[in-house]
Structure formats: C-alpha cells, structure tokens
Symmetry: C2
Subunit: 335 residues, 2 copies
C-alpha cells in the first residue's frame, strides 16, 4: 500500500479529489460587501423566514447542503458521506441541518478551521477509496455567535479594534473522485499551539503562531517554495493575525506577504465596521466556496493554499482565566 504522508503533518493525495461544485448562502451584510456577487444566495434578512437566529442558521446550512447536492446532479441517497460543523454549542447547526438529508453524517469541530477540516477529511475519504463523493460544509451566524460567545446584541457592547465580526453564511462543496474542476492535492493538519494569548477580542494574535507554523511545515514538507502558490488564503486571521503571521514567517525566511489574503478581510469593505475583519466557520466556507472556487474555475487562480485557523477556546475557559489554544489546517487546491 502506498503511504501518502509526507513529513510530520502533511498528506499528499495520490488521486487528488475534485471540487466538483459549491453552494453558498450569506447574510445581507455579506451581500453588501465586495464579494456580494460571488455567493449563490443573499438572504434578505438575518432570520431567513424563521422565528429565531439558530433556526435561520440551520435553514441556511441545510439549504446550502441540499443545493450543492442537487447542483452536483446527485440525490441525497447518492451522497456517500456528509461532513459538517459550525460554532454553536453541540454543533447544532450541522446536526439539525442534516436531519432531513438521508446521508451518513460525521460532525467535526475545529472552530473557524472547521471548513478546512471537513474539506480535508472529505479528500481523505475519497482518495482512500472509501467514497466517490463527499459533501463538506460549515456555517456561522453573527447573531447566534454573539449571544453565545459574547453579549446579547441588544446591549450594543463596544468592541475592540482587534475584534472580529462573525460572518453570517454557510458554504458547502461537493467533492468527487472524478469530475472537472480544481483538485485537492495536499493537506497539512495542524498541531495545537498556545502562546498564552488570553483576549477573546484578539483572536488574530492567538491564531497567528498556529497559522505560521502550518504554512511553514506545509511548504517545507512538500519541498515547495513560497512562490509555488498564487494565493495563500487565511480563514480567518483578520488584519491583526495576518500581520503577525507574516512577521513570524519572515523570521523563518518564508515571504508570502503580497500573496497572503484573508477571507475575513475580503468579505467586508472598510466602511462596514467589522474592526479586524470577519471570522466564523462560515467565513472561509463562503469565501472559498463562493469566490475562490469561481476564480479557480475561471483560470484566474491556478494554485491556492487555504489556511483554516481556529481559536479553540470557549466563553467558560476564558472566564476561568485560560489562554486560547489554536490550530491551523492547510488545504492545497490546484487547477
């Protein structure tokens, strides 16, 4: 049997799975941002016809998954595996979204790195011969996240300039063993890193060391130079995290500055009041599945590295005085 692990953390796929198609739904604020026309559906409001924000997030994720399945010319009964996660306690957005979709389900959680985790696990299932297709999906919702992690939005609590704004959105991709489209060629799975940052309003600082470590390992383990990729896509470090990650990488002589973008900074414009940028499991899910996928299909991008980053804390650990462990997973996608 061929051994597909290269170095300490990286998998190189033997028969790179194809991202056959994608589907995305976002909130009105995300629809008004610079990528507004790259999403499949922009909701008119944050309730999406439901009675509460949690049900809105569930509906958004469910419709994203059912639409990616139908656009892949499949029925739910044809889907080999569904892999999904979100930010809500007990992953309820994913759990409730899939209860009406008759496909085998695996729940995952790595905070904002959840989409990258689902994507690479999907590729593992296909390249390993366990599936011909897999749907990977993730979501987040500003209002469900705010009241769970921070304060009721009604309080109007001010936020620090280093804080990030949770994206309202859901993204799903359908991976196939054979189709036309960009392929997942490699993935680097992150080691959890905790440098002692304790401020939940500064997740970029907490996540930057994990991001720098994973990017550096990915390139060195595959023997790739920094210029191998057209674009490095942070998901989502924000303004603060990107700057720190660049500094840390420069210290290791890895210079990707001009090619390093962040989903959280691409999805909003400077006037939308999101401080350091967007975040949330739905941020990289919608920007990657919505915008990046279209750029790859159009040939404007050929090789990209998605770097999903997750701050693995909870409101409880914060109140108990704990620091914020972080993880970053890198997924290489090439046309």
């Amino acid at each position: 049997m061929a051994y597909k692990k290269v170095g300490r953390q990286t998998i190189q796929f033997e028969h790179p799975p194809v991202i056959a198609n994608t589907y995305t739904i976002v909130g009105p604020k995300e629809g008004q941002g610079p990528l507004g026309d790259r999403f499949d559906l922009v909701m008119q409001d944050n309730y999406y016809g439901e009675t509460d924000w949690e049900r809105a997030e569930i509906k958004m994720l469910r419709e994203t998954i059912t639409n990616v399945i139908s656009q892949a010319m499949l029925k739910p009964r044809d889907v080999d595996f569904l892999i999904a996660g979100d930010l809500l306690n007990q992953n309820i957005a994913a759990n409730f979204a899939v209860r009406d979709i008759a496909a085998p389900f695996l729940g995952v959680y790595n905070a904002c790195a959840t989409f990258a985790e689902a994507l690479l696990l999907g590729a593992v299932f296909i390249d390993g011969g366990f599936a011909k297709n897999v749907v990977a999906a993730a979501s987040s919702h500003y209002s469900t996240a705010e009241r769970q992690y921070r304060f009721p939005t009604e309080l109007g609590v001010q936020k620090k300039p280093t804080s990030q704004w949770t994206v309202t959105g859901a993204g799903a991709i359908c991976l196939k063993d054979d189709a036309s489209g960009p392929r997942i060629t490699a993935a680097t799975i992150g080691i959890v890193n905790d440098m002692g940052e304790k401020d939940p309003y500064n997740m970029g600082t907490a996540m930057a060391p994990a991001a720098a470590d994973t990017i550096q390992k990915h390139l060195s383990e595959l023997g790739r130079a920094p210029d191998y990729y057209d674009l490095y896509i942070g998901g989502d470090l924000g303004r603060v995290g990107i700057a720190i990650t660049n500094t840390l990488l420069s210290q290791q002589n890895v210079k990707i500055n001009d090619k390093f973008v962040c989903c959280g900074m691409m999805i909003y414009n400077d006037k939308q009041g999101v401080n350091a940028g967007g975040s949330g499991a739905g941020c990289s899910a919608t920007v990657f599945a919505g915008h990046i996928f279209r750029e790859l299909k159009a040939g404007r991008l050929k090789k990209v590295l998605l770097v999903g980053t997750g701050a693995l804390f909870s409101p409880l650990t914060y109140k108990q005085g704990e620091s914020i462990p972080s993880v970053a997973h890198a997924v290489a996608v090439e046309m």
Copy 2:
C-alpha cells in the same frame, strides 16, 4: 483503486487497522462499579488535583492520551494524527488536552457517538494509507456535563427514571497499521434520525431508532447474520434505549437481544442510583477501551460490534421546543 464502501453506509477495511493498546481513567463512582478493575486508573475524587471540574476533565483526557502514546512505545512526535472530542461546548476538553501534545489534531463531535466516530476515522486514515498510527480519544465528566446541560449539581434536582448519568472518564486507543491485537474490520456511518422525541431526560428513546437503523444496515450491507458477532455493545442507549432498539430490530427480524449489552448499564451496578444507566462520550470510550479490549485480548470475545449513539441536541434547542436528532455509528472489531 479498490472501492471499500459496501452498500449505502458501510466501509469494509482492506487492511484492517489494529487496536494496539488502550488507556482509561475514570472517576471514583465508576471505579466502584462492576468494571472498576478494568480501568487503568481510578481518580480519588472528581477534581483530580485541579481547581475545577473542567480542568479535571482536561487533565484526565490529556493523561489518557499521553499514557496510550507511551504504552504504544511511541513519542508524541511519532503520532501521525490525534482525533478526539468530548461533550463540552467548543470541545474544550479535547482542545485543551492536546495543546501540550505535539501531534496533528482533528476535533470531532457526535455527542456520545464521538468515540465511535474518532475510532472509525482513525481506521480510515490508516487503511487509506495516510497514517501508520492514530490516537483516538473521548471524555466526559459528570459534573461538567451536569452544569452545562442541566442544573448546578448543588441544586439536587431530581431526575426521571429514564434519565442517564454522565460517566466521568476518558478513554484512548492507539490504532496501528500493523501490530498484534483486535482489528477494526468494518464501520457503518449513521444517518441522522429524528422521530420527534423531545425529552432530554429520555435520550434512550431518542437514540433507539438511529441505533436500530445502523445495526440493521450494518448486518444487511455486509451480508452478516445477527449471530455473526459475539456481542453488540451499545454506547450508550441505557435500559430504555436498549429495550426499544431490541423491539425495533425484532420488527425487522433481527434478533440480537441476548447479545446486546450497553456500556452505560455495564459500568454501574443497580445500587449506584444512575436511573437508566450511564452515558456521555467517556462511557463507551472507557468501557470499550478498558473492559472490551481486555476481553478481546484474552480471547473471551472474538467479534464485537460497538454501536456508538449520540443525541445531537443542545440545551438551547430543547428550550426552543425542538426534538432530538440522533445518530449511531457501528464499528466492527474482530480478533
């Protein structure tokens, strides 16, 4: 490439990964139960030298993982992948447990089916050629779960006879591509099922249809008769869920009654006041990794089917009037 999926939901491993060794830590109550001598360590109290229950659960899971690694004659730097999850919001037991263990990490969540999910994903990584070894682990803690899901324990709220008692315990297994020991030969990944049960004090009823469905699919997709396995191990349906699952299976002419046990009923005796039995991600993790693994190694069991069942709700969905979606994953382990 060989296609290893059999039927709708089942994977048949080509080179069945080996459960090389296990490690378990439980609380004092579990230590006083019928399986008390089958665990590697029984804590003297529920704090385990820490200041709070969450830190106790984190320490328990961390030590379970580090011990399974050292007993496998490995260093953390040799571990290809760590897959773990727990019941706490944002999977903090797993996230914080692994921040001192330098191995690539993937977080999973399927409630009490989390251990079965981690185990089957580990097998997928090894059989797919992505890893030579994987550590899979899960934990739960009575006191962290009570205050998160139900009421502060200090209130002394009475519970229904159908309720289950969250096991305080952590279990880890080290899977290898080659070693002596029981092998994971197949796995059936569950479809999420929701029959409308809304009572969080009756999770057995909510999970039974998922368990029955997965067991029936597992046997029919592999063409195995019910007597193929020496033991069917629910993890963890409790007294109520086992009875309903047996009834549902009988209606499909699948009779496993006398061979169908539940981790949650094995770990406590009738005098321990746990109502319908134990539950929690640590329940099947400790009973399987502690007791069942020893029975397999000793040759007293040859073929078993672990059926991890998860109630995929949250306190919030319950308060919003939602029912309880459930999932069950089956993992076949044979000597």
